[in-house]
Amino acid sequence: MRRKSISYAKWGYIFVIPFFAVFIVFNLIPLISTFKNSFYENYLINGYQQVGPTWVGLSNYSELFSENVTLGKYFGNTFIIWLLGFIPQIFFSLLFASWFTDLRMKLKTGAYKIIFYLPNVIMAAAMGMLFFTLFSQSGPINSIYKSITGSTEPIYFFEGVWTQRGIIALINFLMWFGNTTIMLMAAINGIDPSLYESAQIDGANPTQTFWKITIPLIKPILLYVLITSLIGGLQMFDVPQIVANGGSAVDSTSMTVVVYLNKHLFSKNYGMAGALSVILFVVAAALSLLIFFLTTDRDKTKKKKKGGRK
């Protein structure tokens, strides 16, 4: 047994070389250069006069944490908008996934799966434009609103903090719930059907099987969905950029961190953009690790109880 594994291990390493090569060239080197850039003053004036790169130590970071930059607000915006979209996303995904996989309901799901997934195929920027037009001052939503209520004054969706955030969250929800539904369906289909059968024989109702069987067993996938969505949420850019006038609309209450990051690239300000990227990196890493440890610990205790079927 030992001999075999030694002779095959070599091939394993050879097969992963392409991945690591690509990772090093396109991810690791830019990552390191981002860290490096964050310690330099480096930007363009008038599009041609290069300033720097000059070593400035931590001054980019202190600038980002000074009161001139409300970085905390941008992180807060990002988190709120993500949460507004994520809660309905996970709710409807779970609901549809459990309906579609329920053998007793005998649903034909193909068409639904495609329809739910479809918004994800459209470019986020196009969705942003579409909703911007839909909800604009003289757009269809306001026409309907006016004809129902008889009001002459339209609703200024993009001048309100929560209407604007709500629209961004709505777009994110519409775009991603199909994707999550399909992922959760795959997870639920992976559960041994005999578990459900025996539970039914024991008299469990659907709510009970859902909470006691489905949820615990798809937890790893739920965790995956949560982490990817969180990281995707931190990177939220296209939709707020378009819907909120480059993020500045309504006192920058829909300015996400990456929209703010992008603003630094107008003057090719690699120093500030680098520092901001590093902060974003730290936050993303911390959040992911936190969730990872919280959930792995629980898995361990449960596996001990059940004795580990595998």
């Binding site: 830019p30 981002t34 004036i45 990456v258 500030m272």
Partner: protein
Amino acid sequence: MAQLKKILAGTFAVVMTAAVFAGCGGSDSSSKGAAASGGSTDTSTADGGDNKGGSSAALKEKKADRITQTAEGSADSKKKLRICTWNEEFKNRLRAYYDQYDKEKSGMTGETDKDGNFIVGEKEYLKDGTEIEWLTTPNKDNAYQNKLDTDLAAQAGSDMKIDMFLIEADYALKYVNGPYVMPVKEVGLTDDDLKDQYQYTKDIVTDSNGDLEAVSWQATPGLFAYRRDIAKDVLGTDEPDKVQEAISDWTKFNEVAAKMKEKGYFMLSGYDDSYRTFSNNVSKAWVDSDYNVQIDDNIWKWVDQTKEYTDKGYNNKTGLWSEEWGKDQSKEGKVFGFFYSTWGINFTLAGNAKSNDLFYVCPGPQAYYWGGTWMCAADGTDNVETVKDIMKKLTCDAANMKKLTQETQDYTNNQTAMKELSNGFKSEFLGGQNHIAMFVDAAPKIDASNAGPYDQGCNEEFQTAFHDYFSGKVDKDTATANFYKAIKVKYPNLKTPS
């Protein structure tokens, strides 16, 4: 051990996903070299200009050295006239008024689409067989400038040369004093060719060495265009003289606004409509000689007026260039008038109004100018003769410019021709009104001496920041602070009061 492996694998996965962010910030670092070699690496040029005088004096930057072209244009590049622009205006001018444009080969029938642009074939040609390639990038949020900067930085070493690019008043100085322009004299136009152009159109594009770097076919004095039916309803007359009398200063203008409100009309469409009448009449430039951002009293007047108009319901709360704003200019709109300069009347307003008996114009409460497009020859162009010919035919040829004004009602940059034309001119779009005569009166009053290289960013960010103030979301101080914050991000070299 298994636990350790798990942790290791987990950390690894996190690093990988997180590295995705890093790509955004850092991967462009390779382009730094190009930019640095393109421009002067000596930062002192930024401060070394002729910046004497009081601290509120407008910023005067020193002309940057031109760059030696390291590559020659390829044969393909020589056969292509590549022009950078942000909209369709210049394209239409070139198609209709440049005699060497090959209408037949380009598939131009003279028909226009719904926005009033000529319908042409997929590829456009000049009569000598040169193909015209348009490099179009929208203007908003400095997008055009950023694209232009990238392309021009690559010009010296590229074998596909850009031959010509267009600039606007708001950032003309940036390119005029930048390293990428070929001076007009070198292109081949003489002082005699240029003698009939308005002085301000030359001042704004003269670099710190006194060389002219760009030419324009238009001068852009502004007027107030008003709806005739609404004027009759509210003021009892639509005659330009009488309407002008009613709105000849801002106090009277405000009184009329109140009357409009009573009758269910809006005086102006949106927040930014009167912006240029204030911002292009400032006594202080946006950026002073020490790179401090300063807000002129006249800009504050705009803020106060617009806040009053918004609170009292005198405007329709639209944003400039938005769909609603365009709709307000049509027959269905309930807006009395729009501040527009020359190009705005024939290019934008006529396109939105779609009717020839809707609008008249009058000088309005304050003389001002707005916009204007200049042509620059890109340094390194391999079609100098063509560029020269285009510049000459469109900006110096009196007969051609006269024809342009007659047909398009644009106001061209030729004093003699315009004076001749103003005698008995009748504008089709303005119901036969002679607006050219008004332009002839208004154009010499234009003072563009406070224009600077940072104006587009300052104007846009200021308007955006104060929209929140007008809509009641923030107070004045917060809006001002937001403006400074945005400027600091867009132009890290500028100083803002903290």
